[in-house]
Subunit: 534 residues, 2 copies
């Protein structure tokens, strides 16, 4: 029992859902952020760092699955305002652009990176603070801007070690879904938002779950009843068919039942004036007009969608945009092997208005039970033409991408593609506490030559502890200088990498020779270590 | 008047005391953080990134001027806990070390960088989110660790462009103040903390203000009466004399009234066994024993302090530590010209227990009214031996430094020592909307060669707007390809730097020749631009 007169100790715990990152984890993430920023910068995007804290009013309520005020964000009251931690980097960009638009170029290409916070229920591998690395173009409605963002995403994935073949970018367009909803007579905004949120749960609850949630509702695992959106059966059917449009097209193509003359129509579509030059001098054009099965599948998926949106103008516009985007990317070498038209991608965030997309890693990794699983989405984005309008009242179209850096790092780890941990420092051991200044001067000499080095600061009495510490730090070498060595102006250099190797498999003779320890004049120490560190 | 049926527009504003950072501001800060991290890493410090959110319990209440619960921090309630944004990187380190101490090496040298948040009244140039860049050594009580931190701070300042002569590191020790308070019979913790907070206001209220606040209290500018600590007059006098110890020593040295035989005593002090080697082979020893006025001033300041702490054991220990720290640094070449013993440095944070120090830039810059002013403190730190103990109950000594990166950047700006803004991208202009894919391919070619490039995404109809945009982006060149150029597989390259120069001072003849625009075959574009960008 705790005694009353003893103050309770503070608990040394991160809040639930938060964690710390150590050494190599930090360095690897920084290297990835630097690599991504390099590509973004080369594409002409400028850096922006907005504050982590925003007014709740500026952030708006666009998180999926959020109904109560301030749910999903960390928020607190200050005078009349509610302040909150940003939940992404897009909502703050809209605020920044509206606030500073007179000083910013139009269009404004910007990149941003940093932590974002979500007040969600934490789970294994799910944290409430995580990194995003975004690039957005504000002030242009051109589909070319959406295509550019996707191309840049592909280049960025390559830069960090994810090659073509290891991922697809699934592309959809919110206008197509709106067209489908219009075609089935669902005009109400709140209903549409509810449909969107429901579709976004497809991965969790499957087709049956989505059917139930679009209709009367369903019991969840805990037995609680979740109210449904209340659509009629034929309406539900249309939404389900929409989600499965690519799968249906794939089945048709597999059966050879693709649109009659699809090859010819593909050729007709791409032989516009805009493609004249490509047709004449670029073999990609010829490849494009052929009946490449992946290209055909994108094409047939669009045809499926045409059947679903009926005469809805917005729906047809969405399909045209999808087609234009895929064409532009195709012409630049980002073909249908990785740019995939897929209506099942809807993106949970409420602010998207046009093209939406997700980069999904296609390789399999073992899950916690050793079963192979697809790694899934590591980046996503889309067009959000109304987000700045919230502030200005004027139309300011915008589009962008967000890379989930922590998930991407986890993927590279799973593939064994991250660099090794950073090397530990050379340890200058302490034989004589009174000569601390001299040990520090040896370190200073090494650091001056670019060698990472430190003096041992633990209790020096037990020399074994000093070597254990060096081992724990992953040190390549330890320096020893007792009074005898100091008098002769030399040091002993212990090669800890060789030492570790010898301790595993050396013979008695090799041990006696002890080639892992060498006496070196102080004046030669830098050269000696530089050789050893190679 | 706002119409009732029109929803109010969201305000595009950062919360009070927060701001956004654009382009070069972000890039320059990143370059500085990278430079600092390089030095920290070379000294053997490992990276750590803890979460921005902590429990209020873990953070503790160590901010100066904070009396009410959660004052000074941004905090909110979650279930039974209060969570808050970290106000520095030291309190989180103590929590991390306590939580993970079994997996961490001892001593644990770590560096960390990132934003911290303070819920203070914002003012001009004072923001509620700012960057810190810290290095700390946890798990050793050795003064050598404090000295190492100061040496590293000096190396770091040099690395970012602040040279010796442009700064001093003022060093003090909390134990000396505690010794003075013990000598005047002030044992009560709460009283001591109040004295500390009062001293920390010296810069704001001056000596008279501090006298009043240590005594009965004083009226502030608004006329409100601030209660004092309630010390007696002779107690107040001792504290004031303590704060002025260096100034008093300086006056004595200037009058030639320094301690009789100070030169000899200095020699005696440094001729210990530890310095034998230095004495015999290092000229720094001889310099140290001489009566160098700056070295003498540090020595005399220590003597003043000896008179003030009386027989207080903790006070004498503090003075010995100050002396040892200055000696160690001196022996490593960080002499009394920049390592200055100064009792007026107390540091506001409540958790320090031993050495404290501040790096102060000594050059003058003009303030907002054009008056020359010292730039002041850009970094500070000290020893905090009880901060981990709060969690573990075991003694875990620790020491560290925090660099105020934003202030340091401001100082370099004021001195005109920051690098120029990053170069803008090459702009590929749009002459024909239908050839977007080809313009993108030109960009891709440039980017592949490492050249920053982008297609113009604004409305292309007014070509002047495209060039204005390029100007606003600081572009070095614009690429133009109409149908005529496309047919001949060439582009026009506009050298915008040369163009700007010509538009200022070209003759009519020079204008006619228009040397700023060149026709280049597409195949030679990369080489041409690489030459131009040099």
């Amino acid at each position: 029992m705790a005694r009353k007169d003893k103050p309770r100790r503070a608990r040394a715990e991160t809040p639930k859902g938060f964690r710390d990152y150590f050494g190599a984890e930090v360095v690897e993430r920084k290297a990835m952020l630097d690599a991504i920023a390099e590509i973004y910068h080369r594409y002409g995007f400028d850096a922006l760092e907005s504050s982590a804290v925003e007014t709740v009013e500026a952030l708006g309520k666009f998180l999926p699955d959020v109904d109560r005020p301030n749910e999903g964000v960390f928020a607190w009251q200050e005078d009349a305002d509610w302040l909150a931690l940003r939940y992404d980097l897009t909502a703050p960009l809209a605020r920044v652009y509206a606030q500073h638009r007179n000083e910013l170029p139009t269009p404004y290409r910007r990149y941003a990176m940093g932590p974002v916070w979500r007040n969600e229920k934490p789970g294994p591998g799910r944290f409430r603070q995580f990194y995003q690395c975004d690039a957005d173009t504000v002030g242009t409605a051109s589909v070319a801007a959406d295509a550019e963002i996707c191309a840049m995403l592909c280049d960025t994935l390559k830069k960090v070690g994810i090659n073509p073949g290891d991922y697809v970018v699934r592309v959809n367009n919110r206008k197509v879904l709106n067209g489908v909803l219009e075609a089935i007579g669902l005009e109400d905004e709140a209903h549409r938002a509810a449909v969107l949120r429901t579709i976004d749960k497809f991965d969790k609850v499957g087709e049956t779950g989505v059917r139930e949630l679009l209709g009367e509702g369903r019991k969840d695992q805990s037995g609680a009843f979740i109210d449904g959106v209340g659509l009629a059966n034929d309406q539900i059917e249309s939404v389900i068919v929409f989600l499965g449009a690519r799968a249906k097209a794939a089945a048709r193509v597999a059966r050879g039942e693709h649109t009659q003359g699809a090859g010819i129509r593909l050729e007709a579509r791409t032989s516009s004036a805009a493609s004249e030059r490509w047709r004449s001098d670029d073999e990609r054009f010829l490849k494009m007009a052929s009946d490449d099965p992946e290209r055909l599948l994108n094409f047939e998926t669009l045809n499926e969608l045409r059947g679903l949106v009926g005469r809805s103008e917005v729906g047809l516009q969405g399909i045209d945009e999808l087609e234009e985007m895929a064409d532009l990317l195709d012409l630049q070498g980002y073909g249908p092997d990785r740019i995939v038209i897929d209506p099942s991608v809807v993106r949970g965030l409420g602010y998207y208005t046009g093209p939406v997309f997700e980069a999904e890693l296609t390789f399999e990794i073992a899950d916690e039970k050793g079963r192979p699983q697809r790694f899934g989405s590591v980046a996503g984005g889309g067009r959000y033409d109304d987000l700045v309008t919230r502030f200005t009242g004027q139309a300011v179209p915008a589009t962008g991408v967000s890379i989930g850096v922590d998930r991407l790092l986890a993927a590279l780890h799973a593939k064994g593609r991250t660099g090794g941990a950073a090397a530990g420092p050379v340890i200058v051991t302490v034989m004589d506490r009174d000569r601390m200044a001299e040990y520090q001067s040896i370190c200073a000499m090494l650091r001056g030559a670019g060698i990472r080095a430190e003096v041992y600061f633990g209790n020096p009495k037990n020399f074994g502890n000093q070597l254990k510490y060096a081992d724990r730090r992953g040190s390549p070498a330890a320096i020893i200088q007792g009074s005898d060595e100091a008098a002769r102006d030399v040091v002993q250099v212990k090669d800890l990498v060789l030492g570790a190797k010898l301790s595993q498999d050396a013979t008695v003779e090799e041990w006696k020779e002890n080639p892992s320890q060498t006496e070196v004049p102080v004046g030669d120490l830098v050269t000696h270590l530089q050789r050893l560190l190679k």
